[in-house]
């Protein structure tokens, strides 16, 4: 510590101030620079937004209800189509089996 004392009182004070400020820099950087923090300044309730920035609810409601109806109708149609396909295949196979059975009967 002899070298530290040899610097002289003014230089020691200056060095101490610089060290303290360096250590406090992160804390000072986070402290509010007067007034409210940025997040609070940015918040605006939706109803207070200008008219051109407000999102109309009507199209969203229509889109939601339209989607529900579309999905349900498409799903019912796919069940009906798949059922029809299976029934058709069953009829064809049953007819084929019947034909084979009558053919074997004649032999």
């Amino acid at each position: 510590m002899a070298w530290f004392r040899s610097l002289g009182p003014r230089l020691m004070v200056l060095l101490t101030v610089v060290l303290v400020l360096s250590a406090a820099a992160p804390i000072l950087a986070q402290a509010p620079q007067g007034g409210a923090p940025p997040a609070q300044e940015e918040f605006v309730p939706v109803k207070d937004l200008p008219q051109q920035e407000q999102l109309p609810g009507g199209p969203l409601v229509l889109a939601a209800y339209g989607f529900v109806w579309a999905v349900l109708l498409v799903y019912v149609w796919t069940i009906w189509r798949r059922l029809g396909k299976v029934e058709r295949e069953m009829r064809d196979l049953a007819a084929r089996l019947k034909g084979q059975g009558s053919g074997e009967g004649r032999m």
């Binding site: 999102l55 609810g57 969203l60 939601a64 999905v71 069940i79 059922l83």
Partner: protein, 218 residues
Amino acid sequence: MNRSYPFLVLAAIALFAAAPAMVDAAPYESTMGLVQKIFYYHVPSAMVMFLSALVCGVASGLYLFRKNTAADRWATAAAELTVVFGLIVLVTGPLWARKAWGVWWQWDARLTSTLLMWMIFAAYLLVRRFGGPGAEKLAAAMAVFGMANVPFVYISVNIWRTIHPTTRVVPTLAPGMREVFWFAVLAFMVLFALLLALRARLEARRAALEDLYLLADE
């Protein structure tokens, strides 16, 4: 079940035809306004999704532990309906959220767990479709785990911090909204019963067709 089809079809058509008029007549929610009316289709769809997942899980358990093939057919039907109604929930929710929260999606507990549950049942259908021989049992085990998710998804809003409303909303609905909501729930439940019966019938016919093919091979 065949005799009840016409009744279920008529009931579902009548209920769904009346629902938009009832929803239109329901009072506006004070803070969200018009967009809150998505609630009347979004929440009943979620209820049906939960019910369908439970049906699928229980039926899959019966198939796994009791070798009940009829239960497996009901499980397949219910899994498909879980995916269909889950899709409705996952699309109508963000449409509502965009206006109410300012964002389409949030990775919070309710939304994320619902998406994961939906993916489990979508995976169930993919495993059954492309899994090859023995995939039915693997899919059934997946369905049991999918069903186990239901209580977690339901109570997630009460346990974790989330922007999604809690489960206290429905029991505390204001008069005027309450009747319309339960009417919509009834409409969705009748439709679910109808679609489940139709879809299970499709599986039963497919099983009969497979038996016929086996008979033809012999």
